[in-house]
C-alpha cells in the first residue's frame, strides 16, 4: 500500500467545491434509460499551507489513499493558449464554462474528479493533430475523452490536463454492404452505430451495457470486451484499421479496410487497449458480422458452481457455432437486482437458486436453433446440471432476461458503496475467490460475483452501505495477490486507467513493463497523453 501526497493548485475556494460535490446530482444516460447518480465521493481535506500550493489527500475508493503528485514539468494554461485554441477551433469548440467542465471532469462512477479548466471539441483529424502539436510544444498535458463511461478513472483528468473530447467527430464515413466493413469517426456512439447497422442487416461485434453513451474510439482505445466476446472475439480481431494522432501531432493513417494485410509491423494493435496513452484514435475501420435472424435465450438455474462450469463446457460443445453469450450471476447478484431495480421480474420465482446462467444463441434458422437449444437444455436437465430454467418465447421476454444481467451494475450503484474488480481467472478457480472474499469480509460487506463466464471473466463487487477503509484493507491487495497467484489478470476488460496504474506488476513481468515504458517514451517523449495512468508512476522519469 503506497501513501503519496497529492498536490494541486486550486483556483476555486475549497469550500465551494466541497458543497458542490456533495449537493450535485447528475443525470447520465446508462443502459436504456436515464438514471440519476448520487455522488458517493468522500473528500478528505488536508489543509496545509505550503506557500502557493495546497494539498489534498484524495480518497480513491478502489485503492487505499493513493495520492499522486502533479508532474511539475507540465505547463499550466495561459490566456495565449486559450486564444490559440479559439483561433484554431472556433469559439464554440473551446469550452471554459464551469458547469460543463464539472461534468467532463467527473467519471461515470463519481469516484474520480479532475480540475481541468479547458475542454476542446475538435471536429476533424487535422484539428486534433494541431491541438496535440501545440500541446506537445507547450508541454500541456492532455486527456483524450470519449463517452466518459470508463470504470477505472482513465477518461477524466487527474489535475488540470486539457480535455480533448471527440464527441463532435461522429460521422459514419462509409459502409460496404458486401463485406460488412464500417469506417467511422471515433466519436460515434455505439448505440447509434448499432441502429445504423441494423438497417443494413449487420450488427456490431461488441455490445455492452454502456452502449447509449460510449463512443467507438473509446471502445477501441480500451479494447472493450462486452457480452458477445465469446462469439465474435475481441476488438483486436475485429478492427481492421484505424487512424491515430501521435503526441507530436503526426497523423498515422492505418485506416485499411483489408481483411488481410501482412506488410510490416501491425502498429494498430498498440493503440487498441493502450487507453489513449500512446495516441488519440480518430477513425476506426471495423468488420461487422451479419445480423442473423434467429435469437434464442434461456435463463437457467444451477445448484452449484461446478454445474455452471460443466454447463459451459457442454454448451461450447453442443451449441458450438450458435452460442453467442454465456453469462452468470450468483444468488446475491440476483437478489440485489430484484430488490433495487423497477420492473424486473424473477423468471424462476419458485425458489431462489444459488447460481443463474444466461445462455444466448444466434443463428440463421429459427426452428433448427430452437430444437438445438431445447435438446441441449433438456439433456442438461436430465443430467442434473440445471435445476430449473425458462426459454424466452418472444423478444420482450428476451429483453427482460438481459435486463436482469445488464442491470447488476446499476443495482449495485443504488445499493450504496461498491468496490469493483474485474478479473480474468481460470474458470475452475473463478468462484473460489468469491467464497474466499465472503469468509474474509464476514459481516462487513456483501460480496457479489457475476460476469462473462464464457470468457473466464469475473466481475467481483463488494457492496456496503458506506465506503470504509476497514473493508478496503480486507480486499486489497488480497484480491490482486490471489489473482496473481493463479496467473490471472487484474483487469480483464476495464483497463488500468488511474485505479490500477501501479498494479500492473501483479499480471505482467518487470521486463514486459519496462518494454512498455520504452514504447511510451518513444511515441510520447514528453508524456503529455493521459499522464499518471496505465503504467506505473515509477517508470516516468
Amino acid at each position: 500500500m503506497e501513501k503519496l501526497r497529492a498536490t494541486s493548485s486550486l483556483r476555486r475556494s475549497l469550500k465551494s467545491i466541497l458543497n458542490r460535490q456533495l449537493s450535485s446530482v447528475s443525470e447520465i444516460r446508462y443502459l436504456n434509460g436515464k438514471r440519476s447518480c448520487q455522488p458517493t465521493f468522500n473528500l478528505i481535506r488536508d489543509h496545509k499551507n505550503l506557500g502557493e500550493a495546497n494539498s489534498i489527500r484524495y480518497r480513491c475508493f478502489s485503492s487505499v489513499s493513493t495520492v499522486v503528485q502533479r508532474n511539475p514539468s507540465f505547463s499550466t494554461l495561459n490566456p495565449d493558449d486559450i486564444s490559440y485554441f479559439k483561433q484554431l477551433l472556433g469559439e464554440k469548440s473551446v469550452i471554459q464554462d464551469e458547469d460543463r467542465l464539472e461534468t467532463v471532469n467527473t467519471d461515470w462512477m463519481h469516484k474520480y474528479k479532475g480540475s481541468s479548466k479547458l475542454l476542446l471539441q475538435p471536429r476533424t483529424t487535422e484539428e486534433v493533430a494541431q491541438i496535440l502539436k501545440y500541446c506537445n510544444s507547450r508541454r500541456l498535458a492532455v486527456v483524450p475523452q470519449g463517452g466518459n463511461t470508463g470504470l477505472v478513472g482513465g477518461s477524466v483528468p487527474v489535475f488540470d490536463e486539457v480535455i480533448v473530447n471527440l464527441g463532435s467527430m461522429n460521422n459514419i464515413i462509409s459502409f460496404d454492404k458486401v463485406s460488412g466493413i464500417l469506417v467511422c469517426e471515433a466519436g460515434c456512439i455505439l448505440e447509434n452505430l448499432i441502429s445504423f447497422l441494423d438497417n443494413q442487416g449487420f450488427i456490431m461485434p461488441l455490445d455492452l451495457g454502456a452502449k447509449g453513451s460510449c463512443q467507438i474510439g473509446g471502445n477501441v482505445s480500451t479494447n472493450a470486451g462486452g457480452l458477445r466476446l465469446v462469439r465474435y472475439g475481441s476488438l483486436h480481431g475485429n478492427v481492421l484499421g484505424l487512424e491515430a494522432v501521435l503526441a507530436n501531432g503526426d497523423v498515422l493513417d492505418m485506416l485499411g479496410t483489408l481483411r488481410k494485410d501482412n506488410t510490416g509491423y501491425d502498429l494498430k494493435h498498440l493503440f487498441i487497449g493502450s487507453e489513449g496513452s500512446l495516441g488519440i484514435v480518430t477513425k476506426v475501420s471495423i468488420l461487422t458480422p451479419p445480423k442473423l435472424s434467429s435469437e434464442n435465450i434461456a435463463f437457467l438455474a444451477c445448484r452449484d458452481y461446478s454445474s455452471c462450469q460443466k454447463l459451459l463446457m457442454e454448451a461450447k460443445r453442443k451449441l458450438g457455432e450458435v452460442l453467442s453469450a454465456f453469462e452468470f450471476l450468483d444468488i446475491q447478484a440476483m437478489d440485489l437486482v430484484l430488490n433495487h431495480l423497477d420492473g424486473v421480474r424473477n423468471p424462476l420465482p419458485a425458489t431462489m437458486h444459488n447460481f443463474y446462467v444466461l445462455i444466448e444463441t444466434t443463428g440463421s434458422d429459427e426452428s433448427y436453433d430452437r430444437e438445438k437449444l431445447e435438446a441441449f437444455l433438456l439433456s442438461s436437465m436430465e443430467g442434473g446440471l440445471i435445476s430449473d430454467g425458462v426459454i424466452a418465447q418472444d423478444i420482450n421476454q428476451a429483453s427482460s432476461f438481459w435486463r436482469i444481467r445488464e442491470g447488476v451494475p446499476e443495482a449495485l450503484m443504488k445499493a450504496g458503496a461498491v468496490y469493483k474488480y474485474d478479473l480474468s481467472l481460470p474458470v475452475e478457480k473463478l468462484y473460489d475467490l468469491v467464497n474466499d472474499m465472503r469468509t474474509r469480509l464476514g459481516d462487513l460487506a456483501r460480496v457479489i460475483g457475476y460476469g462473462h463466464l464464457g470468457d473466464g471473466n469475473l466481475h467481483l463487487n463488494v457492496s456496503a452501505a458506506q465506503y470504509d477503509d476497514k473493508i478496503l484493507e480486507q480486499i486489497e491487495p488480497y484480491v490482486y495477490e490471489w489473482t496473481s497467484k493463479h496467473r490471472g489478470s487484474i483487469s480483464a476488460e476495464h483497463g488500468l486507467g488511474l485505479m490500477k496504474a501501479n498494479k500492473i506488476y501483479y499480471s505482467k513481468s518487470p521486463e514486459t513493463v519496462k518494454t512498455m515504458g520504452s514504447i511510451k517514451k518513444l511515441l510520447d517523449p514528453n508524456g503529455i497523453l493521459n499522464p499518471y495512468k496505465v503504467l506505473p508512476h515509477s517508470l516516468n522519469s
Binding site: 435472424s293 421480474r345 424462476l348 431445447e374 433438456l378 425458462v390 418472444d394 420482450n396 421476454q397
Partner: protein, 248 residues
C-alpha cells in the same frame, strides 16, 4: 377454450412490403399475440384454482401455427387444436370456425385476447359471442368465476373507467392488458409439451367457407415526421411563425 394467434413479434420494427400489399413477414420473428398470452394465462389460473378441468388452445392458419400452439402447451395448456387454413383469415371467418369448434368441444368458457396486434380488429370475440348467442365480457381486467352459480363477474376497462358485469356461463371473455402477467415457459413444461396432443382440422371438415368480404387495397407507412429546425434567435422565431407557420 383459448384462441391464440401467431403474429409478428411485438418488439420487431415493422416494414411495409415494397409492393404495398402488406407488411413484411418473411424472416421476421413471430410469436404469440400478447393479448392471447394473457388470455391463456387467465385460463391456466382458472384451471389451477380448480374451477376448470382442462385448457384447450386453438389456433388457425398455416402449419407454422403449430409453433404458437407448442408455446401454449409449454405454458401449461392440456391440449391444442390446429385448424389448417392457407390464407389470412378475417375475424368473421375465425368466429365461424370457432363456433364449429365450440359445438364439438363444448367448453364452459371461451377466452380470447381483445385484439391481435397485426390487424388491431378487436372483432373476433364480439362476433363469436353473437354467433353463439353467449354473453360477452370484453376488455376484462379482472375475472372471478363462481362455479356454483355458474356466473362470471368481469371488470371491464371502458373509456369512462371500470364497468363490472355479471355473465351467465357459458360466456365469451376477451382480455385486456392489466388482467395478469403471463408466465414464462419453464423447461419441465416444455418437455411435457412435446407429448401433448395437437388435433388437426381442415376447413372442409368444419364446413366453413373462407369467402372474404374484405379486400386489402393498399398498405402504407405513416408519413415520416419532419425534422425540427434549430433557430438561433427570437427574431428568427417570430419570422418563421409569421411567414411560414402563419400563426401570428
Amino acid at each position: 377454450m383459448v384462441a391464440v394467434k401467431r403474429v409478428v413479434d411485438y418488439a420487431v420494427k415493422i416494414r411495409v412490403k415494397p409492393d404495398k400489399s402488406g407488411v413484411e413477414t418473411q424472416n421476421v420473428k413471430m410469436s404469440m399475440n400478447p393479448f392471447c398470452e394473457i388470455a391463456l394465462e387467465e385460463a391456466l389460473k382458472i384451471k389451477e384454482s380448480g374451477l376448470a378441468k382442462e385448457v384447450v388452445a386453438v389456433s388457425m392458419g398455416p402449419s407454422n401455427c403449430v409453433d404458437t400452439l407448442r408455446t401454449g402447451l409449454a405454458m401449461g395448456a392440456d391440449r391444442a387444436i390446429h385448424v389448417e387454413a392457407s390464407r389470412d383469415l378475417v375475424p368473421l371467418t375465425v368466429a365461424k370456425l370457432l363456433k364449429k369448434l365450440v359445438e364439438i368441444e363444448n367448453p364452459g368458457l371461451l377466452i380470447l385476447g381483445k385484439q391481435a396486434i397485426d390487424d388491431d380488429c378487436n372483432q373476433t370475440g364480439q362476433m363469436i359471442a353473437g354467433l353463439l348467442g353467449w354473453p360477452q365480457g370484453t376488455f376484462a381486467s379482472k375475472v372471478v368465476l363462481d362455479k356454483e352459480k355458474q356466473v362470471a363477474t368481469v371488470d371491464r376497462e371502458v373509456d369512462g373507467g371500470l364497468e363490472t358485469l355479471c355473465l351467465d356461463l357459458p360466456a365469451v371473455i376477451t382480455t385486456d392488458l392489466r388482467l395478469n402477467q403471463p408466465r414464462y415457459a419453464t423447461l419441465p413444461n416444455i418437455m411435457k409439451a412435446k407429448s401433448k396432443p395437437i388435433k388437426k382440422f381442415t376447413l372442409e371438415e368444419l364446413n366453413v367457407e373462407i369467402k372474404s368480404d374484405l379486400e386489402v387495397v393498399q398498405v402504407t407507412e405513416p408519413p415520416k415526421r419532419k425534422a425540427g429546425v434549430i433557430l438561433s434567435s427570437v427574431d428568427e422565431l417570430i419570422d418563421k411563425l409569421k411567414n411560414e407557420a402563419h400563426v401570428i
